[in-house]
């Protein structure tokens, strides 16, 4: 039983690597197109700006990858980001909490939100789409209640270093060039990749997502594995929320609104299967960067907001189509 599972994973890895290669090629092609149409695209300052813009969405997408691999979806990650962000701001402003404790609690808020999503899905057996649709509204409502409908500033004239620290997190750069948020994204991506590919938990997640019954029969605790997927998604959303609060120096009531769709889009483009059991952190990153490069390139070319939305929608549809098409070809 374990042997055949291992074989299955071996095969999957081979095919997904190939498919990722095609995605990566498309990314390079996009890169070249924009490099040729505007001279500003290829400039290091612009490329670094892209990393800052994308870091936030990429962190969310990496979290979403876990949820998708486990065979679920989490529509509430945007709201979770908003919730952690506002909690972070309120702890700093109203409770004068120290930075490390604030960060810890904000991330825990993300984890607990993910836990609730996981519990609703596994214990109450609610379809993840419905459950997280509900929590998306709920969490956003909690944000409104906590913030009383207004932004919560973290700028404190008595303790300016607090505001400085978070500003650094959100938009600071090392050596004046590499965004700290980008570095955080890379560190998280490496850690998540290790969890996904080098631990038993990761293997269990793939198994759960590709065939829940088989996984259960081979002794995997499907319920616990699924919940861990949601928790990781929630933690990433929490970190994203902290980054947003940092960049804007305040907790915003609407922070992260709509970002769950960005995360899903990035994952789909990055070949994370919506049906579960397949995907990678690299894929999520490629997807997130493809969307970021698209936006940036179109902005630099002066393409209006409305056309941008149409283009991104088309790219997404093509990505899903090619995903299904290649999947069909492999199965034949």
């Amino acid at each position: 039983m374990i042997e055949s599972l291992k074989e299955k994973f071996g095969k999957l890895k081979k095919t997904s690597f190939y498919q990722l290669l095609t995605r990566f090629t498309i990314l390079i092609i996009l890169f070249l197109i924009f490099a040729l149409t505007t001279n500003n695209f290829i400039k290091p300052s612009n490329l670094l700006t892209i990393t800052l813009q994308v870091a936030l969405y990429a962190v969310l997408a990496c979290g979403m990858t876990f949820v998708l691999i486990v065979g679920a979806i989490d529509l509430s990650v945007g709201s979770i980001a908003g919730l952690s962000g506002i909690v972070c701001a309120i702890l700093l402003r109203d409770f004068g909490m120290t930075i490390p404790l604030t960060l810890l609690i904000s991330i825990i808020v993300g984890a607990i939100s993910g836990l609730i999503n996981g519990a609703l899905t596994t214990y109450l057996k609610l379809p993840p789409f419905i459950a997280t649709l509900g929590t998306m509204w709920m969490y956003r409502g909690v944000v409104q209640l906590l913030a009383d409908g207004q932004p919560v500033t973290i700028r404190n004239p008595e303790h300016p270093e607090v505001g400085e620290f978070f500003k650094l997190l959100g938009s600071g750069r090392i050596w004046g060039s590499i965004p700290i948020a980008f570095i955080i994204m890379i560190v998280l991506a490496i850690i998540l990749n290790i969890i996904l590919n080098k631990t038993v938990l990761g293997r269990n997640m793939f198994a759960t997502g590709s065939n829940t019954e088989a996984a259960r029969l081979s002794g995997i605790n499907v319920r616990r594995t699924t919940i861990y997927g949601f928790i990781i998604g929630g933690i990433m959303a929490g970190i994203a929320g902290i980054l947003i609060t940092g960049r804007l120096s305040s907790g915003q009531v609407n922070a992260g609104q709509g970002y769950e769709l960005e995360a899903v889009a990035a994952c789909v483009i990055g070949r994370v299967s919506l049906l579960g059991g397949e995907g990678s952190i690299i894929g999520a990153l490629i997807g997130a960067f493809m969307m970021g490069i698209l936006r940036n390139g179109l902005n630099l070319n002066g393409v209006g907001s409305f056309w941008q939305q149409i283009v991104i929608g088309i790219v997404l549809i093509i990505a899903v189509f090619s995903d299904l098409y290649q999947r069909k070809r492999i199965n034949e």
Partner: protein
């Protein structure tokens, strides 16, 4: 998709319906949170005749502007002895949500309705229904195109656009390049401001060039507006003299980007609305000026307008200008400006 899925799905939907029927306010987070506030307020008044409910429907549950308008309306309702029910869609993009809220308000048969119209054309459908039902209707910040509001208490947004253009011209010495960033499409007052701005620049200041002919939007999201500004600056190699952020979100987005790039003072920034974040940027020299309105007063006067109608007065579809002021680093601490920024 098996049977079990559908059973669960419909069960959830049914429960949600039952739940929402029992608590009409549960869908709107602000209404849920505002209702207890007004309950308290009415009970504090020893001689409180509860004269009935006034519904106040604004545009955006997350906006400081409309929060202040709510404070003004609440104060007036408190003084007059009415129970105020405040409701908001989650964002200015939800025009259809606002229409539904007005329809629900009509069904509640209140003493009066105070409305801040997101889109003048679209809301005319329901403002007509409000008047057909004989309910007093005062509008704050923006009215409908059908003229059904009994009175409108608002900033003249076209005038605000004109004032911004004048300020830009003053800061630029009559010559230079400008980028105009709007938050989102389809909102009347946003359109009015841009109209006033572009019109003034075209007729009075031919040496000032607005570099974007098409409207530029950024999802009413501060981070998206910041990213957009960063890309714009890259595209133009920072070759721009002044940027206008046409509401609080766009303005904060622009200011965040300018601050990140360390270009404060080199590229001038003006805009609208003044939250604490905007004021902080003004004091830091990232934003040179921001036009503020008086939403507190709009809300306050609109509720008093309902009272006038209850007393039998015909408001005659009047327009009452609630005024606008230009806040800069020089006058930001003036008591007059502070009173508008932090209304009690």
């Amino acid at each position: 998709m098996n049977r079990k899925f559908f059973v669960v799905f419909f069960a959830v939907v049914l429960i949600a319906l039952v739940f929402s029927a029992c608590q009409p306010a549960v869908v709107e987070p602000v209404a849920e949170e505002a209702a207890p506030v007004t309950e308290e307020v009415v009970e504090e008044e020893p001689a409180a005749e509860n004269k009935g409910k006034i519904y106040a429907i604004f545009k955006d549950s997350a906006s400081v502007f409309f929060a202040d308008m709510g404070k003004g309306a609440t104060k007036a309702a408190e003084e007059l002895g009415y129970e105020l029910v405040i409701q908001n869609p989650k964002s200015e993009a939800e025009v259809d949500k606002q229409i539904s809220l007005v329809e629900d308000a009509i069904a509640a048969n209140p003493v009066g309705i105070v409305l801040s119209v997101i889109n003048s054309e679209a809301l005319t459908i329901v403002t007509e229904q409000v008047k057909a039902a004989g309910i007093p209707l005062t509008c704050a910040d923006n009215g409908d195109s059908g003229g059904y509001c009994d009175a409108l208490y608002a900033t003249d947004n076209v005038q605000v656009g004109v004032d911004l253009a004048e300020k830009a011209a003053e800061l630029l010495g009559g010559k230079g390049t400008v980028w105009y960033l709007s938050p989102l499409a389809g909102v009347q007052c946003v359109n009015d401001r841009e109209e006033g701005f572009r019109e003034t620049m075209a007729t009075k200041y031919p040496d000032i060039e607005i570099v974007n002919e098409e409207y530029e939007y950024c999802d009413n999201d501060k981070a998206v507006c910041a990213n957009r500004t960063l890309d714009f600056l890259t595209a133009r190699n920072d070759d721009i003299d002044l940027i206008v952020g046409a509401n609080e979100n766009a303005l904060i987005g622009v200011a965040t980007a300018i601050d990140e790039r360390g270009l404060a003072g080199e590229i001038l920034v003006i805009g609208l609305d003044a939250s604490d974040d905007v004021i902080a940027f003004i004091k830091k020299g990232v934003i040179q000026a921001s036009a503020i309105q008086n939403p507190f007063n709009m809300g306050y006067m609109a509720v008093y307008g309902i009272q006038e109608m209850v007393d039998g007065k015909d408001l005659g579809h009047a327009y009452i200008d609630s005024g606008n002021w230009m806040v800069t680093a020089e006058n930001v601490d003036d008591p007059e400006i502070q009173a508008i920024l932090h209304p009690q």
